[in-house]
Symmetry: C2
DNA sequence: ATGAAAGCGCTAACAT
DNA sequence: ATGTTAGCGCTTTCAT
């Protein structure tokens, strides 16, 4: 049976008030002797406060709800891990909620977490939720809880809420610029599904780099994929027939599809075609030709999320819209473009 | 502001007791009219009970603690996902705890979850925890909480606690038997680190299949790896010089290393060498030669875990030691052994 | 320097 | 059929 402050009070011959004061560091007026005694008893019996009881009066549960589309997605599992660790060190526990990219489950999760009286909600929207009016539903549901929240990774176009996002535009720019710096002029791009904001943004970064370099825009070089292996393969097969020397695949999975397509027509990476991916999956490092890829900075992302949340708790002025810059992990899939002689 | 039963009571002109009874389905003696009225008010105001308050008196928090080594490991993220979904449908939320395979964090997590008064703990031990005396520490810590728990995936050698494990012996047998059935006689095995129980068990399954087939045991054909890509590569380089026609790599990551080694000496899979992995990572399906691999049944595993936990809650007689049988996902990395002519 | 008492939202034994 | 009341473990205001 767990010990309560009542037990301690009895044993120390003081009131529960005194015990509470001592154990909560509000003991300015309590005699040193009493403090010592109370603390000793608490220590000796491994006293830990009952979180529910404390929560009932303080209206704080010391828990955070984390809503993500899919914990099986490596990006989100990494995120969950870092968030969990960071909050743990602050005395918070994490309720995990998977939505499987279904809007209804976003909504359901928000409600459930609200019923649990979590102190804060961290949410990365389902794909479905990022579309059209659905975003308003989410936003409304979130606001209704009157609980601090922070939007992560997948954006909603509202300014009046805290967000920590990956700078996908910069990521797309980084990948393309790298190719340009190596002398490539004819660079194709296999995008993600354009309904997803990250896809649109990576493409935007690509375009930015192309235009900045004064390269003529060629619509035919950008093909819309769906972030899956197959679409990378299919589009690469098409693109490889054109006059290109490099491909920017907007995620690693599609880049793997590009490798496959190259293999079939006996193209070598990077000798015949340079390739850059996005996500930097663990797998990219053990490929026969390790893939150069844009890496989201999950650690920094997590840190900012935690900081933003704690900032809201403390009513501190916080930077509402944070962008985390990804970086390029250079490996072996990019070579200098051959000089046209 | 959330509504309380007090608010409902006032509005309905009844006592809180009546409201409580109605809302908890203990209203045998309450008049139909009162029931209707109370329910209507509750519904109209989206009343939800305060979990902490309920918990304080019922001593139930409706939360489960999940302790796993690493949510970034695909097996565990899949597990977490299914467990979360299953418990959610029963009204439970999940506290996620990562241990990073560190014993101290297992212990810390158990304590933290205990302080949170979770109703049950699901734990998959850290590697460190599975070694020697450490297991006793875990077991003791778990028992001390007086909270129902179930051990998952990574075993501890005690009979008096609930466990749901993967049948790794059977998995190893399955992989090896498949190779034997295809006519292979000289089958090498690259094991995991022998301190880990799954590694020892997969090897045991391999041995069992070999002996059952009456194939002479050849110690030289089994090499100890560490479940990492590099060790698969290194050992394969050695093994490929010997007179073998097939390799059983005890996880997919090492199998990928085998592919690499084959590539370097121009061996083709499966024409020159047949290969079976273990884990069936998503990646194995998109390899140039898709890998045949043993797949743990995560869904069944999760279901049994949940059932075992709920069984304990209800004091039902439960099967304490469950073994989940993996299955073989056949793809293209295995061919019939060439007939010696 | 310390304690009494009220109250957080709810359940349940015990009236009536 | 419904209400009164005593907690669950804790914080905090107001007395002393």
């Amino acid at each position: 049976m767990k010990m309560t402050i009542k037990d301690i009070a009895r044993e120390a011959n003081v009131s529960v008030t005194t015990v509470s004061f001592v154990l909560n560091g509000k003991a300015e007026k309590i005699s040193a002797e009493t403090i010592r005694k109370v603390k000793a008893i608490a220590d000796r019996n491994n006293y830990v406060p009952n979180v529910q009881a404390v929560g009932l009066v303080t209206r704080k549960t010391k828990t955070i709800g984390l809503i993500i589309p899919d914990i099986e997605n490596m990006f989100f599992s990494a995120l969950a891990k870092h968030i969990e660790t960071a909050f743990l060190s602050q005395g918070y526990n994490i309720f995990l909620m998977n939505t499987n990219d279904i809007l209804a489950r976003d909504l359901e999760s928000i409600e459930l977490l609200n019923n649990r009286n979590v102190d804060g909600i961290i949410i990365s929207l389902s794909k479905e939720a990022t579309q059209g009016k659905n975003m308003d539903k989410i936003y409304t549901a979130l606001k209704m809880t009157e609980t601090p929240f922070v939007i992560v990774d997948r954006d909603i176009p509202r300014d009046d809420c805290a967000k920590v996002l990956n700078d996908d535009v910069f990521g797309g720019y980084l990948a393309t610029k790298h190719l340009i710096d190596r002398g490539h002029m004819n660079i194709a791009c296999i995008t993600g599904p354009m309904t997803v904001s990250s896809a649109a943004q990576r493409l935007q970064g690509y375009r930015q780099a192309i235009e900045e370099a004064g390269i003529a825009w060629n619509e035919e070089l950008v093909l819309e994929g769906d972030y899956q292996f197959e679409s990378g393969y299919k589009h690469a097969s098409t693109l490889l027939k054109k006059d290109i020397t490099a491909i920017f695949a907007c995620n690693d999975l599609m880049a793997y599809g590009v490798y496959r397509a190259c293999l079939e027509i006996d193209y070598r990476v990077p000798q015949d075609i340079s390739l850059v991916g996005f996500d930097d999956l663990m797998f990219s490092s053990i490929l026969e030709v390790p893939l150069t890829s844009v890496k989201q900075n999950v650690v920094e992302l997590s840190e900012k999320i935690v900081a933003t949340m704690l900032g809201q708790f403390n009513g501190e002025p916080i930077d509402m819209h944070l962008m985390i810059k990804p970086s390029l992990t250079e490996r072996s899939s990019v070579a200098d473009a051959k000089r046209s002689v």
